[in-house]
Subunit: 350 residues, 2 copies
């Protein structure tokens, strides 16, 4: 495809949490986002709403985003169903000749209005979660010289994608041939490929991930994006399929400081982190030896001194490196990733 | 639907293993199967091929199954894709006015020839694995007075469905209001409802099972059909989603005597049974207290004395009841199920 010039639609949901697709595009692909669409916030800059996207304007009319060649749903919608207003805005954008991209379970191609408009305009509807993958795990053809690292967590939405992206960047900066392997729609939007594993039928989850790994295993290091948690009652199956499909050599455990209850199922307490670590290692080890090498703290709701204190506490309690990549950088986590890679003979020191 | 009069299509794959859908229909719904279709074996009785279905004829022409009102794919096809000959036979059956039923991932509705034929005949194409379920786990509205039992295993194809069905029958015989809750296509064909969980997108696996439990929880005991294993690299995600969606009070661990390697991934050894038991309990206990109450031995390839010896060995090693339901009956397993139900206050002794 020719270079993407994206209009990120976040109408009415323009905050860093709900607008996380837009926020991460603004952060990791700033050169591709030409505008954010939100009538309420028109005239502002994206950085005021999302913390990233310095010079990107927020517009309230498609006329003000004429250079965009694709409109992307920039929010994670509660329940996964597109609000009616979004459908209308997408339709108008399509009729103006923009491709339409969505990572929702609620497919664009399920709206006859959008299908008709796309046919009329000759543009594409791209549903990132729509997949025909029917690959099952074979455990064959895996190049064991490729070092596979998976981010895991004690809950969903704790920063696995960000840690994976930051670690990939830092590994590359240090001279390693590292690649980010996305398993969710936002990561796929950023990287341009991946597997939308939460949308894949159960039988094919691990196989899809094995395929993702296999087609990228010419790289020295694969940073595989984790999803959810083995202790999340909704999505634990996705997490286990991912763990068994990726057969990682190393795990980075992510958690949010202060989070006590399962995201979306608040009646459930999150188990102690040591248990969650042990559980992921235990299940990973069913397939191949793996080990948790570092902790990634998400301190988005905490004060700086709280984050620093947690870092010290976590290092002591769990006996491994810990850092909030936003506050402390990803260096110490990457040190630990490299150290294990060297120890198991998959990386050389640089 | 009016009473089903099924023609089971097993052409070229008429043995108990590959024809397991037909075999189980013949065993558990003999009154609904009017004929088996296999040209090579026309003239035989179903029982000669499958071990069940005493009086059911094997036919080689649709003319000989005129009373059938539905044709069902009776095999588990390797790779899940329907052989070309099956498509043609299905089409002819449809044109004669039969509904068509399939549990394959390869949907009937994906064949324009079949869709056209069904429209022409005014019959239905029923793809058991086609599902629009988008339910996520809420952990709300669960009636904790309903006693939930899940069959689990150290591999796939070890007899979970059969153990669930046999235990349900025996519980009913003893005066309990028990219900079989199917999670696979064969179970669904037998029971007339269920959730095809291996075809459900990852995010919705546990939610679908929670829904299945919720809509059947007026029963005293639910025997939930297990799938695969936490140690199966292909399907472990399905198993964990099922475990966390069903939140069972009790587990029955199924395994095949003599099986040493993972079904379909023979490069992998099956871990020791004690580890598999501990892993399922550990992961189940993340949500709610659960416990393995009995072992179900599948001795289909073993001699009677080997099965008896394994039973003694298993009882000693694991300290719990063990039985091959085909050889020893399901009584001892059901005793153990009831014992735990009484112990946790969900059942009364009868």
């Amino acid at each position: 495809m020719s270079r993407r010039r994206l209009l990120a639609l976040t109408e009415g949901l323009s905050d860093p949490h709900r607008g996380k697709v837009a926020r991460n595009l603004l952060k990791y692909k700033p050169e591709e986002v030409v505008a954010v669409f939100d009538r309420e916030n028109a005239g502002k800059r994206a950085s005021e709403l999302f913390g990233f996207g310095e010079d990107v304007p927020v517009v309230g009319s498609l006329d003000d985003a004429a250079e965009a060649n694709a409109v992307v749903v920039g929010v994670a919608v509660p329940g996964g169903v597109m609000p009616e207003s979004y459908v209308e805005i997408m339709r108008e954008a399509i009729l103006r000749g923009m491709d339409a991209i969505s990572g929702l379970h609620d497919f664009l191609s399920g709206y006859p209005r959008l299908v008709d408009a796309a046919e009329q305009s000759g543009v594409r509807l791209i549903d990132l979660r729509k997949t025909a993958t029917k690959r099952v795990v074979s455990r064959e053809g895996i190049d064991e010289s490729c070092y596979r690292v998976l981010t895991v967590g004690n809950d969903c939405s704790v920063g696995k994608m960000v840690v994976s992206l930051e670690a990939t960047r830092e590994l590359i900066r240090r001279g390693y041939d590292a690649k980010f392997a996305p398993t969710g729609q936002t990561g796929m939007l950023i990287e341009g490929e991946g597997e939308p594993i939460d949308a894949i039928p159960g039988d094919f989850i691990a196989g899809a991930v094995e395929g993702l790994v296999a087609r990228n295993q010419s790289h020295e290091v694969l940073m595989v994006e984790g999803q959810a948690s083995l202790v999340h009652p909704r999505y634990s199956g996705v997490t286990l399929g991912l763990l068994h499909g990726a057969t990682p050599d190393a795990l980075v455990m992510c958690y949010e400081l202060g989070r006590e209850r399962i995201h979306g199922v608040e009646s459930m307490k999150i188990p102690p982190l040591a248990d969650v670590i042990e559980l992921h290692e235990r299940l990973g080890n069913v397939m191949r030896p793996t080990e948790t090498v570092a902790l990634a703290i998400n301190g988005r709701k905490a004060a700086p001194e709280e984050i620093d204190a947690e870092r010290e506490r976590a290092r002591r309690e769990h006996g491994m490196p810990a850092a909030d990549v936003m506050r402390h950088g990803v260096g110490e986590i990457v040190d630990a990733i490299i150290e294990r890679g060297v120890r198991i003979g998959k990386l050389s020191p640089r």
